[in-house]
């Protein structure tokens, strides 16, 4: 009897690095010039100042929100009149990074020059109140959850204790979900805990529980500025769930919900700034479901050039660029530029095939503390063949206040706060039918991976991703090249070694598969797929006793996996352990009555145990 081997389980890794997302939730309003602007008359609170304060300041400057003092009425505002004039004139407040341009963003929080002048004149005039009849209605804010009661609230399992002093902290919380069945998430509202110390926070989905490995104890959370989430498939992973002071959660339009599988984790990345007293940070996230499954799958295109980040101390204008040609017709929905503390000027442009150039975003004075995801007011159509480019300028001189080193030191690319980053994410929605969109997404993913590899053969994640993409479409030969490249970058990576071993097995090179698969189980002894694949490789080489050992380990890790039980039964049968084999084969069928491999093997085992001749 020959034990049949099940399809080889090769989970793919898809590495996404996203951090510190944030956005504005306000809607912008068009406004007309106020009487004071037109007449140069006296500037009053009720007529001129209140409308600006209520729209731009009050969303954060109110009890329970991030700002340190309220700005909700005349008294609140008048006592800070001079300071408001100062911070608005310097455009420190309200915080809004992009320069005004041809493309408009949702919730722009940029004051006009006229509005700034009004604050100045009002302060100089001694902050007069004005005619009470002029006062617009006070703004009304939702209390508690901004989108109403969530369908599911997840609480942090363990609070994080932020020390009173010291430098900025980055802490990550894992929120397991325990739902049965697939759910569709249209919005995630983040309640970051003590808002006065949380600069921003963002949520990523972790379907493989890859972040849990970073926790010292389950539920403890872990430090780190950037998250690296592994995912199993070409999940679009394109939903940007973020929180920044004053933001109202972004609700995905119909058909663009995020799929939530049973057991998926959410990981919350927070940027915390010590307040002077110890703070207990205990975030929660609220999930809002919809019955409507996703039919539109936006994706994130990532431009980045961290490898070019090797900034000598003292350099004031260190330039890093990247460009990428889009291989499908897409609509650009949102943009998220990201650098650390040395970033100075961040710019992204698009050049369409007809030569039209667009500035997608220009941030003339980058400030990590106010980073955000920026949603366009209208989607920007970018036809296939459009070249998108980023150009980031860095200041590693002592004149850069945010410089993490004093005196300045050489800074390179990396994930730590003292490293630098040069990333730009574009959230795009491919056009066309569902099938065309699917093809476009795959093409874009592949183009991005090839683009990154062309720049850096040592890009582990993209070598791996490209291997997985090629394998998925059946191009095993080329897939093997990229898996090999990934393993050569990280020889002890369990997932890459497993993928390489699995692909070798799939092309019939079982003996060549043994090395990488053994490396995978050694690197991560609790990694089920590697034991399973190693069992299969050994069984192919008719080393059934060793195969049985590996399947046994696989079964110990996932006792309810029908195929692992079936293969263990098969390998035991081949080793002559018929009684034990029968037990596992029966278990396999119990777990999955349609497991044909188990059924055929069980029939064979029963025949042999009844004294039938060996085939």
């Amino acid at each position: 009897m020959k034990a049949r081997h099940a399809a080889i389980a090769v989970p793919a890794i898809f590495s996404v690095m996203l951090a510190c997302l944030a956005d504005q939730g306000q809607t912008s309003t068009t406004r007309t010039r106020t009487p004071a602007e037109r007449t140069n008359g006296e500037v009053t609170f009720t007529r001129d100042i209140a409308p600006i304060v209520f729209h731009y300041c009050s969303p954060c400057h109110r009890p329970g929100e991030a700002a340190p003092f309220p700005l909700l009425n005349y008294e609140d505002t008048a006592r800070f009149a001079r300071q408001i004039a100062y911070v608005t004139e310097k455009r420190i407040m309200p915080p809004w990074l992009p320069a005004p341009g041809e493309l408009k963003f949702q919730g722009e929080m940029r004051l006009t020059d006229e509005q700034i002048t009004l604050f100045k004149r009002w302060g100089e005039a001694g902050a007069p109140r004005g005619n009470p009849a002029d006062l617009p209605p006070a703004p009304v804010f939702a209390q508690g959850w901004q989108l109403g009661k969530p369908d599911l609230i997840l609480q942090a399992r363990k609070p994080y204790l932020l020390p009173a002093g010291g430098t900025d902290n980055y802490w990550n919380f894992i929120f397991p979900t325990q739902l049965s069945g697939t759910h569709w998430v249209k919005a995630v509202e983040i309640r970051p805990g003590e808002k006065r110390v949380v600069h921003h926070a963002n949520v990523l989905i972790d379907r493989l529980h890859s972040s849990r490995r970073q926790e010292k104890q389950p539920g403890a959370g872990f430090a780190g500025m950037e998250l690296r989430i592994e995912s199993e498939t070409f999940d679009p992973d394109s939903h940007l769930f973020f929180w920044k002071p004053g933001s109202i959660p972004h609700e995905e339009p119909p058909g663009m919900a995020l799929r939530l599988n049973p057991g998926d984790d959410f990981v919350l990345n927070t940027h915390l700034q010590p307040s002077g007293k110890p703070e207990q940070i205990e975030p929660s996230i609220g999930l809002y479901f919809t019955k409507q499954p996703a039919t539109k799958f936006p994706m994130l295109l990532e431009l980045q050039n961290d490898r070019a980040l090797n900034i000598p101390p003292g350099a004031k204008d260190f330039v890093v660029t990247d460009e990428f040609t889009i291989t499908a017709d897409v609509d650009l929905l949102a943009i998220y530029p990201h650098a650390h503390y040395l970033g100075k000027e961040l710019r992204a442009t698009a050049t369409k095939p007809d030569g039209t150039a667009l500035t997608l975003i220009l941030i003339p004075h980058w400030d990590l503390n106010w980073q955000a995801v920026f949603y366009y007011e209208q989607p920007i159509f970018l036809p296939s063949g459009t070249k998108v480019a980023m150009r980031y300028v860095y200041d590693n001189s002592a004149a850069n206040i945010a410089n993490p080193f004093h005196p300045p030191q050489r800074v390179v690319g990396g994930n730590r706060t003292t490293d630098e980053m040069a990333h730009l994410w574009l959230q795009v929605l491919p056009r066309g039918t569902a099938e065309e969109q699917e093809t476009a997404r795959r093409n874009l993913q592949e183009a991005v991976a090839r683009h990154d590899i062309a720049r850096d053969l040592g890009d582990f994640a993209q070598q791996y991703n490209l291997g997985a993409m090629l394998q998925a479409r059946g191009d095993l030969g080329e897939a093997l090249e990229h898996y090999r490249a990934a393993v050569s970058v990280r020889p002890h990576d369990a997932i890459a070694n497993n993928a390489l071993g699995g692909a070798l097995l799939a092309v019939g090179e079982a003996s060549a598969a043994l090395g990488p698969l053994r490396a995978a189980v050694k690197a991560q002894p609790d990694y089920f797929p590697a034991h399973y694949n190693l069992g299969n490789a050994l069984a192919s080489l008719e080393q059934f006793r060793e195969a049985a050992e590996e399947f046994r380990k696989a079964v110990r890790l996932r006792p309810d996996d029908s195929m692992a039980q079936a293969n263990l039964g098969g390998a035991l049968a081949e080793s002559g352990e018929l009684e034990e084999a029968q037990r596992h084969l029966e278990r396999a069928i119990q777990l999955d009555p349609r497991n044909n491999v188990a059924q055929e093997n069980l029939a064979e085992v029963k025949r042999l145990r009844a004294g039938g001749p060996k085939p």
């Binding site: 003092f69 420190i92 407040m93 007293k277 400030d367 503390n369 206040i401 004093h406």
Partner: protein, 182 residues
């Protein structure tokens, strides 16, 4: 008693300059006449200023360093802050300093204070030697260094205790503007 009082050194400034200065019980306090012969340091803070709050561990640490050698006072100049709010604030931020309220800005004027947090160092005979920032942690609203690169307050206190001349008399502080003076 009379003999003790008359033995105090004469000060350049009169008591009139500390009009309205009280402790948390509302008792009048004259910081310049409480510890004869000692350097006096005033650190101005308020309960609702995030910059002065972030400085709490630093202020506490610096005052501890000079314990017995200079008299440190934590001064709350904002009139609308109640004694109860201040007590709560002290507890939350772990302050161990002697607290003064300065609702009439007598100390603010004498120390030439503009914002919180801001410090002032006086010689034992009440002369203003230094006023301004504690250090250069903040360069602007919302723009702080990872760690300060200067220590103006520490330098000033050390020089004042040693009786050495100060190199810097004043450096503007970054912080919350005081509500317009009463």
């Amino acid at each position: 008693m009379l003999a003790v009082l008359s033995s105090r050194p004469l000060h350049a400034q009169s008591n009139a300059s500390v009009r309205g200065v009280v402790d948390l019980q509302g008792q009048a306090v004259d910081p310049f006449h409480r510890s004869p012969g000692k350097v006096v340091v005033l650190v101005f803070v308020r309960t609702d200023c995030p910059i002065s709050n972030r400085y709490a561990p630093t202020i506490q640490e610096i005052s501890r360093r000079y314990k017995g050698r200079a008299e440190f006072y934590l001064v709350y100049p904002v009139k609308s802050e109640t004694a109860e709010e201040i007590r709560k604030h002290l507890k939350e931020y772990g302050y161990q300093l002697t607290v003064l309220r300065d609702p009439d800005y007598a100390l603010v004027k004498r120390a030439e204070t503009q914002v919180t947090p801001e410090a002032a160092v006086f010689s034992a005979d009440g002369k203003l030697l230094y006023h301004g920032r504690i250090n250069d942690w903040y360069a602007e609203f919302g723009k702080s260094r990872r760690a300060p690169t200067t220590q103006e307050l520490v330098d000033a206190v050390s020089a004042a205790i040693a009786g050495k001349p100060l190199t810097v008399a004043s450096v503007p502080a970054v912080g919350c503007f005081l509500p317009d003076r009463p």
